[in-house]
Symmetry: C2
Subunit: 192 residues, 2 copies
DNA sequence: CGGTACGTTGAAGGGATTCAAGGCTAGTGG
DNA sequence: CCACTAGCCTTGAATCCCTTCAACGTACCG
């Protein structure tokens, strides 16, 4: 924990593991996300890269000094922390109450949103993106087993909600169709 | 969302509800917890009091002004947000990977910790506290049904891990015994 | 005393897990 | 060049934990 930083390219995960090996992902770090916690010596969670990652890193101590000198930076940090908290709470709804199928659909939407920078153009109805996670990583994200992830992804494919290419490339013809599978109300903020 | 504030006495909850009624609690607000989000007009989640609550509240706009004038306040807000984020992540492990019994044990520990201000006296082995939540609220906290909550609480009682008085008062003779039921490693930070 | 909110308990059913086997693809070394 | 291995993914069958549905118990209150 000598450093803090920001993801520039690649994907990393934040996770927690129980003694017997059960694992839950608690953070998905995509480009622009912040890593580390100012004002804390130790790390509470495991950070792992799932692809090659380039990081823009700062030594923690000088960074903390910087926080004091630049009020805007701290303002930004607070904003980011609160956004993450909101995301964590959405995630809790997913983990606690959604079905396996809804979980998968939700994850696909989350990844799609983040990768496409989400232009607010309302006419976007198609979507194409890459899953940079293995089935196991998805399972850890969603609180499922990798078998269930595999089955549900293929079920969505069989039902024509998504199309797959080489297991990792997803193509969505009709976004609202996928949106309806997430269990979220209305458009889930996708078009805002 | 015209106000922000801090809980002084009582218990409130932060929750999210799906169209069909499924509900997940995403925040448990106990005395000293902060309510509301500076810099945001609308509320993303429902806040409900589960007991009578006294609140120390501030109009949001002046409070935001205060944040700019007092750097220490913003520092404190950031710290609180990051602590909440850590708590949310522990909660995610609970929701995604723990069994019903582990969930109940974990919830009991969480409430116990917060109500007893947790003196770091290591000799504490007994514990007595009140559940200010209904079975249904616990279910919403844990991502279970209220029936499962009821069954698991009574199972813990039958196994001698806890004792009950009038359904809401819990007495724990042997804390480590309860701790072992949570699925967390070691002491879960209880004695730190 | 009826009504309501909260809690318990039983029986049946189902969605996800567990266990097991096999397929696909890329990289490696003979 | 081609087995050969390793990592990832899929699929089936059986099992189990939790949910669902239903009935009943209890305490409090007008």
């Amino acid at each position: 924990m000598e450093f803090v930083g920001s993801v520039v390219t690649g994907v990393a995960t934040l996770s927690q593991t129980m003694e017997d090996g059960r694992r839950q992902m608690v953070g998905l770090l995509l480009p622009s996300d912040f890593v580390g916690r100012p004002g804390r010596e130790y790390a509470a969670f495991n950070v792992e890269a799932t692809t090659d990652v380039t990081l823009c890193k700062f030594a923690r101590k000088p960074f903390e000094k910087l926080l004091n000198d630049m009020p805007h930076l701290r303002e930004r940090m607070l904003e980011m922390a609160l956004d993450e908290l909101d995301a964590a709470r959405e995630w809790m709804l997913l983990l606690g109450r959604k079905t396996a199928r809804e979980k998968i659909a939700s994850l696909l939407m989350i990844i799609a949103k983040r990768q496409n920078t989400l232009k607010p153009i309302e006419n976007v109805e198609e979507l194409k993106f890459e899953l940079s996670l293995t089935r196991e990583a998805m399972a850890d994200y969603l609180g499922l087993t990798l078998e269930t992830v595999s089955r549900q992804i293929n079920a969505l494919k069989k039902d024509g909600v998504i199309e797959l290419e080489r297991k990792r490339h997803v193509f969505v013809k009709d976004i609202t169709r996928l949106l309806n599978e997430t269990g979220d109300d209305a458009d889930g903020g996708y078009f805002e």
